[in-house]
């Protein structure tokens, strides 16, 4: 199974330089080769476990609890305009 580091990096939204591509690509290939070990096990009849304990979905009332956090949250904005987080243009012009 071949992993293309460029494709994965694009999916993960991480820019890598050539040196990193080589090093991380090799590291990942090594780790994936090690992980192949799991194929020794026949798991056809095994149910997957995504959580170790039997937990059920929890519902709560949709109530407003914290009302005065706007400033505390917005003060972390790398770029802000009024009460908005400002980002580069998302929608392209037609």
């Amino acid at each position: 199974m071949k992993m293309k580091i460029e494709d994965v990096a694009k999916l993960a939204r991480i820019r890598l330089d050539e040196k990193e591509k080589n090093k991380l690509g090799k590291d990942l290939e090594g780790i994936l080769a090690y992980v192949e070990k799991l194929n020794e096990l026949d798991t056809k009849a095994v149910q997957p476990t995504s959580h170790a304990l039997p937990l059920e979905n929890v519902f709560r009332k949709d109530e407003i609890k914290h009302q005065d956090v706007k400033e505390e949250v917005l003060k972390h904005a790398p770029l802000r305009e009024r009460d908005f987080f400002k980002v580069p243009k998302v929608i392209e012009e037609v």
């Binding site: 993960a12 799991l38 476990t49 170790a52």
Partner: protein, 477 residues
């Protein structure tokens, strides 16, 4: 001045209650110790002496005036919390994690934030953007990780107790390598609200302390259901300090043969087997047990944990907080920000997790991992049908040299071979000191129990501690 900083949580709280010492006596003593020693260890990334003066002292509370240090991935209101990552530098949480709120309500003074591997990705505390923490027993060695700062601070008497987090051994392994007590509670026992997420089905917060009884005290304060964490268990919190009073007569303790394998350090093996003999002499019944899927745990973990991590770290995009590398294009901004903000191990894990979740590979890797996780969990279910406790080494080796495994990710990952299965199964486990190598490095003993069996762990761990002196030895730093 009295060496108050050497005291345990229990001793400190009692001295404060009886008026033998004041909170500022304790904090001044501790701060003096930090100033004298931490330049050699780098256990703290943030340290605030003034907090002692600000804290109100109310005698009636269980931890009144007791200084506790907190791992830097646990949110502290108004106080920078970075996960030791460049991408979160300057981030000041607008709220306290539930564990921090509970500690404060119990009277504790939160006075320092501890160094860690970036986003808790590591077993050596070397991937921190602040640089490594060093082991108090030998500063050429790592303290273990990822909660290396939390472990080193307690070992070197820079904190009376501390909190860390454990996703695949990040409390127990550094506790073993630094010669202190470290507990990973049952998944769901402690609220994760405000813990910056790594692997959400594995993460759990727990205490580092100088004694088993102190761990019981701290767990009693931080445990319990929290409406703000839907994975926290609605189970009652027992009085853990009662558990330490019981003996181990008749308890059935299993030694898993898969944890005593080739490659384990002979001094570690002999100390751990010696500990089993000691418990036998105290009345426990020792028997062999098999956990046949142990050898698959590391591979399973590096699929499951990195998949969850890649998803959890998706939020670091430079939009709402933390680092942003500007660009005229949005995707370009994400890519540059994450390139600059994440260290190498964070990139490695996000990439691996992205790959195992990606279309075409999901079933071969991620789903396969979840299925093997079931088999690993079933091993424990079966063993605990007849056993009360499983006993094993915490780490296959004592502390290793700084830099030794940094460029070999697989060698680093295998440091956690004995501490990963418990997170996959969700069970509680504790590491306590059980000996020293000829070179003077501590060795850790790991005890595991079934879900919500923390009382049994405290009972066995305390019986061993009472019968031995390993916990009394402190590093000569």
């Amino acid at each position: 001045m009295d060496e108050f900083y050497t005291w345990t949580i229990k001793e400190t709280a009692e001295a404060l209650r009886s008026g033998k010492a004041t909170p500022s006596d304790i904090l001044e003593s501790l701060c003096g110790r930090v100033r004298a020693v931490d330049s050699k260890l780098k256990a703290y990334v943030n340290f605030d002496e003034s907090r002692s003066k600000k804290a109100d002292f109310i005698k009636a509370k269980p931890l009144s005036g007791v200084p506790i240090a907190i791992k830097d991935n646990i949110s502290t209101r108004g106080w920078e919390t970075t996960c030791a990552s460049k991408i979160l530098k300057g981030y000041i949480p607008p709220y306290d994690a539930t564990v921090v709120r509970k500690l404060k309500e119990a009277g504790a003074i939160i006075f320092a934030k501890c160094n860690m591997d970036e986003f808790a990705f590591g077993s050596s505390c070397e991937t921190s953007c602040y640089g490594p923490t060093f082991n108090p027993w030998n500063t050429q060695c790592v303290p273990g990780g990822s909660s290396g700062g939390s472990a080193a601070s307690v070992a070197a008497d820079l904190a009376v107790g501390s909190l860390g987090s454990d996703t695949g051994g990040s409390i127990r392994q550094p506790a073993a390598l630094c010669g202190v007590v470290g507990l990973k509670p049952t998944y769901g026992r402690v609220s994760r609200y405000g813990l910056i997420a790594f692997g959400s089905s594995l993460d759990q917060i727990g205490p580092f302390t100088k004694t088993v009884e102190d761990a019981a005290i701290l767990l009693g304060v931080i445990a319990g259901h929290d409406p703000l964490d839907s994975t926290s268990a609605p189970a009652d919190v027992p009085d853990y300090t009662q558990a330490v009073k019981k003996d181990v007569k008749g308890l059935r303790i299993g030694l898993p043969k898969e944890y005593f394998i080739k490659g384990i350090d002979p001094e570690v093996e002999s100390a751990v087997r010696g500990a089993a003999k000691k418990l036998e002499s105290l009345g426990a019944k020792i028997e062999e047990v098999s956990l046949p899927h142990t050898q698959y745990a590391v591979a399973t973990y590096y699929i499951v944990a990195t998949a969850e991590a890649s998803s959890n770290l998706g939020r670091y995009d430079g939009v709402q907080y933390g680092l942003r590398v500007p660009s005229s294009d949005l995707v370009e901004m994400y890519m540059k920000t994450r390139c600059e903000g994440f260290g190498r191990e964070a990139k490695r894990r996000v990439l691996l997790g992205t790959f195992v979740l990606s279309a075409g590979y999901y079933e071969a890797y991620y789903l396969k991992g979840l299925k093997v996780r079931t088999l690993i969990k079933q091993d424990f279910d079966k063993a605990f049908e007849r056993l009360d406790v499983i006993l094993a080494p915490t780490s296959p080796t004592p502390a290793f040299k700084v830099g030794e495994r940094l460029d070999d990710p697989l060698a680093m990952y295998l440091s956690d071979i004995f501490t990963i299965p418990q997170n996959l199964a969700g069970i509680p486990a504790i590491s306590i000191p059980c000996g020293f190598t000829k070179g003077g490095l501590p060795i850790g003993l790991q005890l595991m129990a079934k879900p919500f069996g923390e009382e049994t762990l405290f009972r066995v761990a305390h019986a061993f501690e009472r019968a031995t002196d390993f916990h009394k030895k402190r590093p000569a730093i």
